[in-house]
Amino acid sequence: MGRMTKRSEPYILAAIVVLSLLIQARSGQFFSGNNLVDLARSLIVPALFSIGCMMVIVSGGIDVSFTAIASLAMYVTDRLLLASQYSGNVILAYAISAGLGLLMGALNGFLIGFLRLPTFVVTLGTSSLFTGLMFGAFSASASDVPPSIARHGKEILFTATNPKLGLTSNMPSQILILIAVLLFAFFLLRYTMLGRGIYAVGGDETAAERAGFNVRGIKMFLYCFVGVLAGITGIARISMMSYADPSTMLGMEMTVIAAVVLGGTRVTGGVGTLVGTISGVALMTILSNSLILIGIPTYWSRVFTGAVIIVGTGVTAHQIRSTRRRHTQSQKATV
């Protein structure tokens, strides 16, 4: 139990429970099937982003380019498929976008893994590069999606109805993608040497090298993986919106990072769990979705997001400090 309180996950889950109950009390609508499905739907894209984002932060860096990668990859794919009048399976769209994401991620991987440049600044640069390419070279503007994607967007798993308000919500099939990615990431991080390597590098990069980890390879893989994920997320996004707006995902990176950190991932690296991350995303999503339900106009939602970030990180910072103090006391008996 003592070990539990040092981690953030319980706090976040508790916060979610409390918040849900509060909102339910206020509006009676929170736990309705329809609302939960809506929440799940809003959750999909940020959650997909947060997985890659978390892995990068665990490895000791901060990536801000994933939304740019997602946008550029999806846009090019979209135009390509439209131009070639493709109407086959949507899998191809995912594949192409993932491939483009892979290339862009590889650039990050090369600069960060091989040239050892600082992650934050590099991704700041590549983010700029990719958005510039998208709007400049490709003169991106909002466009339609090819029929296969549109079809895919309409695929639903099930429908949830809210009998009281007579509202229905459809659970999009994209949720399956999220689940699949989560399972894959879980397996990767916990059961493969590559995954443990990511944690090792985040803990102490020099030690990782000395232990025999291929640090360069790990980083390269990591950023390529993030790129692939971003590409997939891009297609998921436009299929759910049935509309390809290149700027729709831009700007999300900060809130995703906030959600990841809220979920207990340490900015200094080495510590972070998928459970915590998804909880963080859930918390942020609930907040932005549910403020209406308790009568707060959307104009004020950002204030609450900001407050949540500040309070959430304040709690984490406090935890780190008390762990460090406990540790330093025993350290003081040592150094």
């Binding site: 600044v121 640069g125 510039g132 990069e205 950002r302 204030v303 970030i309 990180t313 910072a317």
Partner: protein, 347 residues
């Protein structure tokens, strides 16, 4: 963030401010000449200089604010939110209290109050961020991510997202004055800020303290420095500078809105790093940052003059330049590291 390697410190100490500044100067001159050569009758003209001088002060001042916070080992990602919020509050005041049909002379006191109000808001925003970081020990990236959301959110909330545009004409008239019909007021303000902050950093006790805290906050404490106060003051200055930038933006656009200057945050961090500010803290100069500002402005204006190159290529170039600078610095530091390792072998 990657750990500081021995070579980085060697590189830096060898008056690395000097080679870095030199490199920036070379880049500056190169870009200037490039643009002049490519667009001789457009770039190197008084009209263009005037136009550039009107554009960069607003983000330039914010870049200086961000640089200060980076020097102390943190970062202020909330500059744009602060700028907009303080401008909006000033705007609301002006719109709400200046009676219709006032003479310019009657408007002036309101303008003064509005400016003071805006600066106070900026100071307050900076104080909030600084307190979160220095007192509550929240990591700067996250704290200022939060304040950015918070301040922008408040700005959206009190304006319902709408631009505040029925400002008294006198404001933009004064705000856009140009001395000798050439030098904009905003440029003068920027210069004053750059010189003032630069002197503070390099010539005062406070500046030295900032560098030391950015390098090793623990040792700073043991040396008697008051980390809490110094960091708080740094963010207060950043907030103040952001509100100045906000006022300049308001003059230029003749309105205030919650989402103005959204791309500036990224841009300013880019500028800081390009200008030699070490993201880990402890190093960097205002001279470097100023040169980086100019380089980016030259590139931006120059690009504008190519009709067939969309403005968005600017982002490509900035991103590309930043990466090239980083790569170049890395290769250089590898070379120095090899030398330093050899020398340290036989101390």
């Amino acid at each position: 963030m990657t750990a500081d390697k021995p070579a980085d410190s060697v590189r830096r100490a060898r008056g690395a401010h000097d080679p870095n500044l030199l490199r920036l100067l070379v880049m500056l001159v190169f870009v200037f000449l490039l643009m002049t050569v490519l667009r001789p009758h457009q770039f190197a003209t008084m009209t263009n200089f005037n136009s550039m001088m009107r554009q960069f002060p607003e983000y330039g001042i914010m870049a200086i604010g961000i640089s200060l916070t980076m020097i102390t080992g943190g970062i202020d990602l909330g500059v744009v939110g602060t700028a907009n919020l303080s401008a909006i509050i000033a705007a609301k005041f002006l719109i709400g209290s200046v009676p219709q049909g006032s003479t310019p002379a009657q408007v002036v006191p309101y303008l003064i109050i509005a400016v003071l109000l805006s600066l106070s808001v900026g100071l307050a925003c900076g104080t909030i961020a600084g307190t979160l970081i220095s007192h509550f020990n929240i990591p700067a990236i996250l704290a200022t991510l939060g304040t950015q959301q918070l301040f922008t959110g408040i700005a959206i909330g009190i304006t319902s997202g709408r631009p505040q545009s029925r400002l008294p004409l006198l404001y933009s008239r004064i705000g856009n004055t140009e001395f000798f019909r050439f030098v904009p007021l905003s440029f003068v303000i920027f210069s004053a800020v750059a010189v003032g902050v630069g002197l503070m950093l390099s010539r005062t006790r406070f500046g030295t303290s900032m560098y030391m805290i950015g390098t090793n906050p623990r040792a700073a404490r043991y040396a008697g420095l008051n980390n809490t106060t110094i960091i708080l003051r740094t963010y207060m200055i950043s907030g103040l500078l952001s509100s100045v930038a906000g006022l300049i933006m308001m003059a230029r656009a003749n309105s205030a809105k919650a989402d103005y200057g959204a791309p500036y945050t990224l841009q300013c961090v880019l500028i800081a790093v390009l200008g030699g500010i070490d993201p880990n803290g402890g190093f960097g100069t205002i001279a470097g940052v100023t040169m980086a500002i100019l380089i980016l402005q030259f590139l931006s204006s120059g690009l504008n003059m190519f009709n067939n190159i969309s403005n968005f290529y600017r982002d490509v170039i900035w991103g590309g330049v930043l990466i090239l600078v980083l790569v170049f610095n890395r290769l250089l530091s590898w070379r120095n590291e090899r030398r330093a390792v050899r020398k340290s072998m036989v101390k």
